[in-house]
């Protein structure tokens, strides 16, 4: 393999692929990057077995071939090379990187040992505008679980929504649940509802961040694939049944509250200092949030709100409440309550796209 390419492009290729290298190595080969040179392209791939990244750049390929080298070493040298053209050549045992004046050799690993990484083929199932995909991930992913005892909940459900011909992203850790409807272009008919590790989605959001390129999505070989520009992220899927969440939606029969999001965020943040659980009192024209840690201290703060319906008191885990409030995308926030023992709803004001359902805490 002999390839030359501009340092800048090569570096960004390598740095992108490095995102897929996990520090938790189970097999040595996974600390490496697979480099392929073929038909005018240099392709770098990485995988941690859960997620893989495959990214490419145009390059002048003098001799095609492939190799695997330590991702960190390659990344470090690429970062520090001076601007200009860089030639990469794989020999018997070493990958040789040549830049103006310098020559760097990196011991190679066996490319045959590298796990197979699926190659995108055919058309996308659907396409999402990058910004809205990223914000959907941000709004829902915090509700996802990290408890490996319930594998299904460590993933986010992406299901097609035939009514709106969009998709819905849903995440829950069984204490709260967040969902977001996302508009897509193209047909969702071919999409198979699936559970994708939330970790991978967060990575997709990071990789897609910065650019506002569309995210193309498809299902191939039982894996979900996301294409963003010249890069493809492939994710293994989680097997299992996602909990039936639709029946949970609070109707807001009893009480509805509307207030400014920023105000509530500030109050909750202060209240959290004095306790994990917030006593959330809803009164005719205001809310009262109190927290206490016995023998340590307590807090009490009132905040004006538009309240319709009955007055009530309900308890929330402060962190879960804050996550929900922060995820709201509108200046005003709407909350609905049925009963102090039943789930409450936090949502965008006058919009049904984002919903956050939170199970209350029974206070003592």
């Amino acid at each position: 393999m002999i390839v030359s390419c501009d340092r800048e492009k090569l570096n960004s290729l390598v740095q992108t692929a490095l995102r897929g290298v996990s520090s938790r190595v189970t097999m040595p080969i996974l600390s490496g990057l697979l480099i392929n040179a073929e038909s005018g392209e240099l392709v770098a791939s990485s995988t941690d077995l859960e997620m893989s990244i495959r990214t490419r750049v145009e390059a002048s390929v003098k001799e095609s071939g492939s190799t695997v080298v330590s991702g960190k070493l390659l990344g470090d040298i690429m970062k520090s090379l001076p601007p200009g053209e860089v030639t990469v050549e794989s020999g018997e045992k070493y990958l040789v990187v040549r830049s103006t004046g310098g020559e760097y050799r990196i011991k190679e690993l066996m490319p045959e040992d590298f796990p197979q990484i699926p190659v995108w083929s055919g058309d996308a199932s659907f396409k999402v505008q990058g910004g809205s995909f990223i914000s959907a991930i941000h709004q829902t992913s915090r509700a996802s679980s990290s408890d490996e005892k319930r594998p299904v909940l460590t993933g986010s459900l992406i299901e097609k929504n035939l009514e709106s011909s969009g998709v819905r992203m849903v995440a829950t850790d069984s204490y709260r649940l967040a969902w977001k409807d996302v508009e897509v272009s193209g047909s969702v008919a071919e999409w198979e509802d699936c559970i994708i590790p939330t970790k991978t989605l967060n990575e997709v959001a990071r990789l897609a961040g910065g650019s506002d390129a569309d995210v193309e999505t498809k299902m191939q070989d039982k894996q979900a694939m996301f294409r963003i520009g010249t890069m493809v992220v492939t994710s293994r899927l989680i097997e299992g049944q996602f909990p039936n969440y639709k029946q949970l939606i609070p109707k807001g029969e009893k009480t509805t509250v509307v207030l400014a999001k920023e105000d509530l965020v500030a109050v909750v943040r202060r209240a959290m200092i004095f306790g994990h659980n917030i006593r959330f009192g809803v009164y005719s024209d205001h809310l009262r949030l109190t927290t206490e840690t016995p023998e340590v201290g307590d807090s009490k703060e009132e905040i004006a709100a538009e309240v319709s319906g009955e007055e009530m008191e309900i308890g929330f885990n402060a962190g879960y409440l804050l996550d929900g409030v922060l995820a709201v995308d509108t200046e005003k926030i709407e909350m609905r309550f049925d009963d102090p023992q039943k789930p409450a709803l936090i949502k965008d004001f006058e919009s049904e796209e984002f919903k956050y359902i939170i199970m209350p805490v029974r206070l003592r």
Partner: protein, 442 residues
């Protein structure tokens, strides 16, 4: 301690606390017999009853069905532990205004050391009247009080003062005050002990005081000597004020180092239960669970786990503790001691779960189960109700089941200021009937 001035120890005891709170919540219960514990058609026992119900012969710990026959016209209530806890805290808030030296002795009673408050608030007796008046006015609850130079005399005093009264025993008058009272009035003298004493011809506390301490010791063990002192009104025990715990821990040293992991596991469950009960009593929940293991060669290890959702449920604590224990185990090495420590304490609350299914609602169900168990234990002591797997572990329960088997556990409890902080270990004597420990049910 003040060497010149005699001590002024107050014991304050809320009268029929559960029933009084119920009456506060529902004034219609005023004047009617009230029994807390459940419906007489259910299995269970009386947790508390009002004086009106006692007039019919109903008393605590009696099976509900029996209470139902004795006093069918009573109002039977399941009980609202949250409310009791709330009022208990409000009472404590009032007490806190007079002295920092308070030793809570359950949900409805406490000892206060008023020795040092003469300058600030005046004579102790005046303070006691003020405290009782405030509890009555601000909370609407009756309380009885005993004031003397020691815990034991004050405790007897408040018992004598009931209902809703106040007894002051002046310094020097302790023995004289106690002498005419029946021995059962002394704390720690239960039915078994009382029978033993009656057999010796002892009926009053005065009879007891006349007996040489050695004689009593030979009958009752080390407890006899303590009892003899108490009978003469001598009790130099200091108050042990409850501090805000930063951690709660319990540990157990096995009588013989063991490789019986099932025994260790059961012990962990018992320790988890005890820790969690202490948490719940303080309205706290833990976010950090630690297990401590000492091998027979005294190598000691500890492992921690942090929880996202705070818990005060032994089921959750035990699940984590079991896994931590597994991580510490060395196959074939004997274990000398195990301990459970809970830290990262926060205000309690029970996080509900969203989904239906086998696991759904489990947390809330456990919550009310634990609450009921606490309620029973509040009244009848820890070993009045035990899990199957731990029932063999407690010394007093074991010895009541099988007389001759010596207790297997020494127990040390500590509420230290840091996770796993040792604190002074309290060795609980064992077993019950042979040594100094008052038998259950006293």
């Amino acid at each position: 301690m003040n060497a010149t001035k005699p001590r002024a120890i107050l014991h304050i005891d809320m009268d029929t606390f559960f029933c009084s709170v119920e009456r506060l919540l529902d004034p219609a219960l005023e004047g009617r017999p009230v029994i807390v514990g459940g419906d007489p058609s259910q299995r269970g026992v009386v947790a508390a009853c009002s004086y009106e119900a006692r007039a019919f012969g109903v008393h605590s710990a009696m099976p509900l069905a029996r209470a139902g026959r004795l006093c069918p016209q009573a109002v039977y209530l399941r009980g609202d532990f949250q409310a009791y806890l709330y009022y208990s805290r409000r009472v404590r808030d009032i007490l806190c205004e007079y002295t920092p030296t308070i030793e809570p002795a359950g949900i409805d009673e406490a000892y206060l050391d008023l020795t040092g408050c003469r300058l600030a608030f005046g004579e102790p007796a005046v303070v006691v009247r003020e405290i009782r008046a405030r509890i009555a006015a601000e909370l609407g609850l009756p309380a009885s009080a005993g004031l003397s130079t020691s815990k034991v005399v004050s405790k007897v005093g408040s018992k004598v003062a009931k209902p809703n009264g106040f007894v002051e025993v002046p310094p020097g008058g302790e023995a004289g005050f106690l002498a005419p009272l029946p021995v059962e009035k002394l704390p720690g003298v239960g039915p078994v002990c009382s029978t033993t004493l009656t057999d010796l011809g002892i009926r009053t506390v005065g009879d007891l005081a006349l007996l040489p301490p050695e004689a009593l010791e030979s009958v009752l063990g080390s407890w006899g000597r303590v009892l003899s002192e108490h009978a003469r009104g001598e009790d130099r025990r200091r108050l042990e004020p409850g501090r805000a715990p930063k951690s709660v821990s319990r540990e157990t040293t096995f009588d013989n180092d063991t490789i019986d992991y099932e025994l260790v596991r059961c012990t962990l469950l018992l320790l988890a239960e005890k820790c969690c009960r202490a948490l719940r009593a303080d309205g706290l929940a833990t976010t950090r669970i630690a297990v401590k293991l000492r091998h027979s060669d005294f190598r000691t290890y500890m492992k921690f786990r942090t929880l996202k959702v705070p818990t005060d449920q032994e089921q959750t604590v035990f699940a984590a503790a079991g896994e931590l224990f597994e991580g510490l185990l060395e196959r074939g090495v004997r274990i000398r001691l195990v301990g459970v420590a809970l830290s990262g304490l926060v205000g309690a609350g029970c996080q509900g779960e969203l989904f239906e299914g086998p696991a759904a609602g489990r947390s809330l169900k456990l919550d009310s189960l634990n609450e009921s168990i606490d309620r029973i234990r509040e009244r009848f002591g820890f070993s009045s109700i035990l899990r199957g797997s731990t029932s063999e572990l407690l010394p007093d329960r074991r010895s009541s089941l099988r007389d001759t088997i010596p207790g297997r556990l020494h127990e040390a409890a500590s509420e230290g200021s840091a996770a796993g902080g040792g604190g002074a270990a309290v060795r609980v004597p064992q077993p019950a009937t042979r040594s100094g420990r008052p038998p259950r049910g006293c």
